[in-house]
Symmetry: C2
Amino acid sequence: MSDTSAVKALIFDVFGTVVDWRTSLINDLTAWSAPRGIKADWTALVDAWRQAYVPSMDSVRHHPERGFLKLDKLHRHSLEALVEKFGIKGLTDDDLHHLTLGWHRLHPWKDSVPGLTRLKTKFVISPLSNGNVALLTNMAKFGGLPWDLIMSAELFKHYKPDPESYLGACELLSLKPHEVMMVAAHNNDLDAAQKCGLKTSFVPRITEYGPHQSRDFKADGDWDVVAEDFEDMAKRLGC
Amino acid sequence: MSDTSAVKALIFDVFGTVVDWRTSLINDLTAWSAPRGIKADWTALVDAWRQAYVPSMDSVRHHPERGFLKLDKLHRHSLEALVEKFGIKGLTDDDLHHLTLGWHRLHPWKDSVPGLTRLKTKFVISPLSNGNVALLTNMAKFGGLPWDLIMSAELFKHYKPDPESYLGACELLSLKPHEVMMVAAHNNDLDAAQKCGLKTSFVPRITEYGPHQSRDFKADGDWDVVAEDFEDMAKRLGC
């Protein structure tokens, strides 16, 4: 482990790193649709919804003249296309709104809350997620995530991995990049943070994509901390 | 009490409303200086420091070409002038930094933490303060303030009472103004929030300025809730 003694704040990727979006959404959609008699391949829809995520942010990135759009709006737009594609009929505007907010009702991995609670005793802890502020706030209340503050790409009008998001987080914390550590289950997120001068910590979440997991089984960069999970990270960081 | 049934989030003024800045700073400065043999009229200095607060923000407001400055920087600038004025000698750069961060070490009023803890069970709770994000984050850890998120004028590059700060908070929360309630011990803060369409709640903090308190002894506007303190507010809002 390299020297991380200057680190004062830990900032976390959320989708996949802190919460299990795939299982949560499949269960949420299934439980909602069953009593309504609405049948669909919800697992396939969730996987397709997640596949639309990066292209939808790329669209914002490549068309700055259209202005920044919150992730809730991108999720809604993608869902509308998928409902059409999957031939799901009869959903009202309120239904689509409720389903979109499924991304606010994601369950933490089992080590997330105990690990964050320990890490919070020594560090400022915050998300740095592409989820919008309201999404992250509602998710924290839903899952009991003990954040000190909520930081989102929305605050910087730049989705990760744009450097403005990592450097904007350091500026809000009034810390230098080497005093801030990015925590993620995704090597590309850490690579972008490291290029901005932040410290980095990897945790594997090898079931994030279920049977479709194709990468991020292990650390593949020179990260400052590699931990088994958040409890192990707390131990390694002296909490 | 008017209809506040649509309110989903409470946003709080902090200096004076949640924390007792005057007593905290006088005690902080006195305790720091005594073992160092540095003598000064710390009470007068704190009162003068607070008097410099509004003019320093006005300066930012009236000179947008200079860019937005965090409150920590304004506090430091004001302190440097006051140290000179009060004839205090021998302070190092580190000393001035430590004293400026006294604004991060303010104690909550005794009802603040129990009241906020109750309010948090039903509402999203956040500061909306002119204090910068790092100041508010450190203060929350210092005093045990259980915020769901941290919102600051810094996020909007507009100090209160500019409307951009109140409306920016609603936008981040993905809520309409009538779904958000501003809580303050200052009638002028509530007046500005109400003009933006927010709901309002007043709590008196009649010792905030010590012997210099000249206003805000009571509600003097048509506020939606007037409470004795945060515990009473929780009761009135059904928590």
